[in-house]
Symmetry: C2
Subunit: 318 residues, 2 copies
């Protein structure tokens, strides 16, 4: 298991829609990056075959001798156990239930494999080569169709007692707030995920009244368009979303006192109208000693954070 | 600096009112435990002299040869830097401003010294020999005149980027809630500290109306008395306090996923009327995977948690 020679590794960012795979060097350079729709409709066996053949294709296209590729790192939709490499039951994947994916892939590919959940992989990537490079602690918040999180404390991903640490999206911000998909009320996610923002914007626009001509907005770009047009109703909801995110990050600052919070995902494209109120609220609520040592930054690696985190994860285990 | 022989250490739990000092063995046995009022009214020099002479007295009374005492661990009111052993400016102590206490005491006592803030020392003590013994992660919440916290993750105290991690008392639970002493609104502390509970109980009793004969309650024992008498107004406030603590701990469970949360301090004496609603709220709000792996427990070491944590801190550095 110690073909460490030049420390090239395979790295994959596996999603329910697309999978990206690449060769990554020990320095974090990305070579031979390929992207494919994930074959997962017919369950786990199809998806495992897809991952194995995709891996072989990337190795072949890299023109590297096989012995130079020392292992494979994977960012995979959670929940999963990163120590054993077992996938529990990801809500977006059919037929996965306690699958020992690490063991299966190690046998197929004949190299060590390390698996991390996608949010943690993104955090590890940003810590290694992105917005948190050189820091002692980082919390990465993904603002997309859901709100996820992952943290690197003292150079290591913190998983918690049952591998679910990082779920900032399901911390309560508004005690008697909107009901969340998780069953709780007032979670960060239901306010700050793309669907939650769209719903609140559409509700507010509808309430504003438009003589029955109301066409609901369907994506964040349309929201951004209305912000550019100076729509006050939409602006109010986006600012409110920033404040709610700010409360969550202020709580994080006082509780964990991280050096960097990295914001990641489509919702961050709403830009200053979201981030301005967010930062003000953090400053207003958190201890000065916590905010003085805290940077709040956008992702520097974007789509590559998961790949680089997956690579770092296997590299640090070789 | 390596007189490790039998691994006896001096350990101190320093408070603004009292200081407790003892000899602790490498196995966590407490010998020669003494308690004195802290001499600190006249500033730092007096307090340092007090600590040095108290330490010498404990060593003398222990009848141990000096070379068997390998170092000194101290739990001290924060904020402070546990790496350098520098005390910043504790709000309850006069004339302390960036004092290199570790260096000063090492010169005076001629042994290695390690300093940890009191909340972290209590957490480390409970992790080593108390309610969190044998676990991988523990969060300790002190419910007293304030609400503090400390955490042990993977066997180490997590300090954060500027040594203030653990401040769960100043996470926002009620967005537009009561104004807290820290300047924020709706912090856990203002609802769950002893003074905050008393104020809300007294406000509720006063509102209930008592023909001008109202005598405000002055301590938690009187609250407990009224609970025993079945006072519904008081019971409602205590249950509400449990719910608010439950929200904070549910957030902690989803964010950090610790194995044990230890509750500590005078407020825990309110017992089942507080803890019942607390546990229900955690179950209601946190992920099943987080609550299934979480124990919520009272402190097992009580007043000795700080001493044992201070001892463990120096022992693990020898």
């Amino acid at each position: 298991m110690t073909k460490i020679l030049n420390n090239h590794v395979l790295a994959a960012d596996v999603g329910g829609t697309n999978t990206r795979m690449a060769i990554v060097t020990g320095n974090g350079d990305i070579l031979t990056l390929l992207k494919k729709p994930t074959h997962c409709k017919n369950g786990r066996d199809e998806m495992i075959r897809f991952l194995v053949s995709f891996a072989r294709e990337v190795i072949e296209k890299s023109n590297l001798p096989e012995e130079k590729i020392c292992g494979m790192g994977i960012g995979f939709p959670g929940p999963l156990n990163a120590e054993t490499g077992t996938i529990f039951n990801p809500p977006n994947l059919n037929g996965w239930d306690n699958v020992p994916l690490k063991d299966i892939l190690e046998k197929e590919l004949k190299m060590p494999v390390a698996i991390e959940n996608d949010a943690n992989a993104a955090a590890l990537g940003e810590w290694w080569k992105g917005a948190g490079s050189g820091t002692g602690s980082l919390f990465c918040i993904t603002l997309g169709t859901g709100v996820g999180g992952g943290m690197v404390l003292g150079g290591k991903v913190w998983h918690g007692a049952s591998s679910i640490a990082g779920e900032i999206g399901h911390t309560t911000i508004i005690r008697d707030g909107i009901e969340c998909t998780c069953g709780n009320t007032g979670c960060l996610e239901i306010y700050a995920c793309s669907g939650g923002i769209l719903k609140r914007v559409n509700d507010a626009l509808l309430e504003e009244g438009d003589n029955g001509k109301f066409q609901p907005l369907t994506n964040l770009k349309e929201i951004d368009q209305m912000l550019i047009q100076g729509n006050e109703v939409v602006l109010k909801i986006i600012k409110e979303t920033g404040v709610i995110l700010g409360i969550a990050i202020a709580n994080l600052a006082n509780l964990l006192n991280p050096e960097v919070v990295v914001l990641f995902g489509g919702v961050t494209n709403l830009g200053a109208n979201l981030i301005g109120p967010l930062k003000e609220e953090v400053k207003r609520r958190a201890f000065k000693k916590a905010t003085e040592s805290l940077r709040i930054e956008f992702s520097q690696l974007g789509d590559n954070s998961g790949i680089l985190g997956a690579a770092k994860n296997i590299l640090s285990r070789l």
